[in-house]
Symmetry: D2
Subunit: 338 residues, 4 copies
């Protein structure tokens, strides 16, 4: 392998553009060799803008290129698992956006292909690289709060996605809560055994008509005996609310939101602080860069990636259990039965 | 009625002493006339210390005294409902410590007696008078966060009670969470329809052996459609953790813990803030005084008490449902079925 | 001496009423025996309201009463020193509101009379009893920040006093900054050697026309080598701004303002916190009670008062130096030369 | 001019490396063409590391290159003014690290040369680009606090520089406080008329022996009538303490320190927050990037730079006055007389 990791980008949509720009400008050990997109002009435009040498309509051109070491799969969700399998067979290291798939069998096939090929595989759970959540995890892992007893995640989007998206996304549990399912596994260091879901449609009746909920509280029981809770809303009018708290036998550690600055403004009308950063592009800007550097470093050094293929499987299993519990009106559902 | 409310104290234990001292020193419109306790020396000692003119072993002496307008029932829990009924029949206004009873039928009898006699009745849910929670409620009631969607209560004691107490208290849901059940009703302005409880024994195995849990997360569905969650622990090593958060269509309001002072201390080892006030006597010191003044004022002015007898009934019903859900492994239980 | 300290109140104005009410309701070891005021109806009204047995027009009736152990001098500033001397000669312990006098010679006479008589003397620098500032002092005195290097005091009133008051108060340095001069002595544990004052009239031109300033920054050099700074404004539109910070060789400790509650309110327009408590009656409510209890305890136990007569002298000397420096356009002035 | 600003770097020391790396990686519209350093291997190494096409020992090679539009002067302070003049005459836009010079006459010559040549000139006062201070300035400039009355700057380094540096730096006022003099001009929107300096040597006696102070408080009077104060220490053991506060007729706005993350950690020993970011490389990392982008944009668009040559002159004048006041024991000194 060369000094730098030579990367092919598959998909030039919003998240593909984000990763490509970061890889070019913020990841010193990455070298983006090519970009493909089913919509060829998007690939061409991105290549031109970032000075990427090659662009294609067909991602197979990337998989076939012996000068490419790794791929970033940023195409539509339904293509994640088949391209992952093809890329693994082509011997490319793989960074795959989440979720790998909504179907557990397909994810299992990816895991099998990855295992057989021996390539590195990383799933795009970017929040693990947030400076706050990483510090919480480090303190927990270092024994700073003793035995974990309660894990709490607050995760609310600033505005609901379009109904067109809600109809095809697979629902709130797989498109939104899935990040939180990953987060509770990460923070607790334990697997989720059982979940109970209370859901409601309080933001927009159209979401309910589309068969989904926009507000939910999910209680979790972990294999190590700890309990957890996630609360989600599709619409927090004050911005992207992303907080976690882990409580244990020796203490608690909590992470607050990030803000545009640390000022406080006092007037006769009140005392004002800044709202949380608006959405994930602002809040997780640095986390994406850390994530990309971690993947590149793992590939170059032949180490395990920090978020492996099994980490791509488990949140989907929890999401399926959470959805089932919601359909049963909150009756607890075991994750392994899902 | 005289200018001041003439009060008889029934029970001179920890909470009776607290109320008596506050009534004497901090409630200008109260006049404590007498105190009784089944352990006569306790009544005598308290009377002497606070300058209360009379003390008795038998509380009937208080109920029979025509110069007494109201009673504070601070005796053991099992006596709350029978004394409430007797006091109502004697035409005394009643402040009764929580819970009225563990038995719904007995509480219903109290409600009936109170209704028939026309006396004022207030239950000792002191947290409603905390300056933080009251402000949260005021903002919610004023429409400041729009429609309520999510109510969150964190409530953790600094240390577990003795096992001897756990064995007779009726369990965590009636002795500890009951305050939180009152709080969610208060904050949401809605009744609880359904609960789901995940419980665990993580603090002390002896609590589990006594048939109880020491850690729990309870999800709630309100009649107005909102969702809620309470998390409890018998032991937060950093102190009494009492926070609430109400989230709605137009915003969120949250209350943090109170601390002994507002200082921050910076050294080369870190930046230190004060821990939360240690326990309820410190944290709710002012709330108790507000509570007592509210009762006295309601009686003197002939107004409704701020926490009536129905408010004494409902949290017990929720507690019973929560316990049943825990026994069923988290299966949701309707409150009206409990 | 009896079990309780028997007190006579001299002066039934705003601060006299405050002390009397606290002594009656919040200081268990105090017994208020009488109150006097040059305006007799004020004394009568206060006596009636608080159940004080006697009231007089002439304070000598209090000084002559052998059943009175101590006096609270809450009359007009010009009477503080003569009454202090008379009371000392009468053998009464003395709590005197600040300042003792504007004239250093008169204060020295008080000190002499107090010394000769052997009575206890306490000056009303209530802020030392604020829970925040006391904690800061405790940490500093305990070596928690090492050697003191910089002391900062921010002290701003919510609104300017009437011009009629400004004209007779002696000016900002003796009527307002004097509290801060006491505070820097208290926090640093050192005397002030030299001051430099920059003053300006930015709030109300009428204050300047009355020969005073409404905004000032005073730099201080302490005998132990440390530096300090006080900033004052007569009008902070957001409320009473009272903060301190002490910086040293091993760290820093800072005290923030107190607020009506600890809530945070999030809307699409911003994040709101509570404003500081409005003025000294709200902010220093508990500090007054601590102050009064401290005096009573010192008298009953025969201990030194926490703020003695020398503590009444020094801030006046600093104020005189600060005023002189302002008149000299900021040229530093030694306190001992003042 | 080409689409990108073609830049030559003069000086490859610590700050030169910082700017070069940012220009290459974080300033999309910059193109670094060459780097020079009197120590040629430093230039060579930097060029190789960042892929800069050319490197020289003699900066004249850069000034003579017609394909270079602008220079970054990052060489030793004594060379700032002569190279600025040469570069201006060569028609290169100039970014010059602070200070331009310690000698006012030499700075005036630079201003003259810049004016005559018409090139853009920006001085490296990076803190203006800090997200916090910029927001404070924006609120002040927008009238959010009304008329400015008090400006406060706390600026403390985490550790003292080596004595060898102290001996040649020109002293604390020109090497450290100069940033704060720029900051108060920026925040207040007014020039400084007069200063009074209290200095002390409390951190390290060797600093005093070198003829400097390590702790100081500087009071300022602004031309618009407002007052200000800066406090400095060479050693804050808890980290880089950089806070500002602007108080006015309609309110106050204050900026707190930045921290590595927003977590709070609770144990039985206390509540811990993160210390401030350690030093300027961490704290002002983003500010440097904003600064560089601003310069490049101003040059490319032919606009005024945000920190012009006059902004390089004024803080030096204030520093000279501040030093003189310190030498006079705190007697106020007019800036225009300095």
């Amino acid at each position: 392998m060369s000094e730098k990791l030579r990367i092919g980008m598959i998909g030039a949509g919003r998240i593909g553009k984000l990763h490509a720009a970061n890889l070019v400008n913020r990841v010193p050990d990455a070298q983006v060799m090519a970009v493909s997109d089913v919509h060829a002009p998007a690939a061409k435009e991105l290549a031109h803008k970032l000075g990427i040498p090659a662009w294609y309509e067909d991602y197979h051109r990337i998989l076939e290129d012996p000068n490419i070491d790794a791929v970033f799969i940023c195409s539509s969700t339904d293509t994640h698992s088949p391209i992952s399998i093809e890329a693994a067979k082509a011997g490319k290291h793989i960074f795959c956006e989440k979720p790998i798939d909504h179907d557990l069998d397909k994810i299992q096939e990816v895991l099998k292909a990855v295992k057989e090929s021996g390539v590195k595989y990383q799933v795009g759970f970017n929040r693990r690289f947030d400076r706050n959540f990483k510090h919480v995890r480090d303190v927990v892992a270092g024994g700073g709060i003793g035995d974990v007893q309660i894990v709490k995640v607050t995760s609310r989007d600033p505005e609901a996605p379009p109904i067109s998206y809600v109809k095809v996304s697979g629902g709130i549990f797989v498109d939104m809560t899935i990040h939180d399912f990953d987060m509770v596994r990460y923070l607790s260091g334990s697997e989720v055994e059982e979940v109970s879901t209370f859901g409601a449609c309080l933001v927009d009746p159209a979401i309910g008509q589309a068969g989904d909920v926009d507000t939910c509280i999910i209680t979790l029981r972990f294999k190590n005996g700890a309990l957890g809770v996630i609360d989600n809303s599709r619409q927090a009018v004050y911005g992207y609310d992303q907080r976690v708290e882990v409580f244990g036998s020796k203490g608690m550690i909590a992470a607050e939101n990030e803000t545009p600055n640390n000022t406080t403004y006092y007037t006769c009308d009140g005392v004002y602080r800044e709202k949380p950063l608006y959405f994930f592009l602002e809040r997780y800007n640095d986390a994406f860069i850390q994530e990309e550097n971690s993947f590149v470093e793992a590939c170059l050094k032949g180490q395990d990636t920090p978020v492996g293929s099994f980490d791509g499987l488990q949140p989907v299993r929890i999401a399926i259990a959470a959805k089932k519990s919601w359909q049963l009106g909150g009756v607890p559902v075991k994750v392994e039965e899902s």
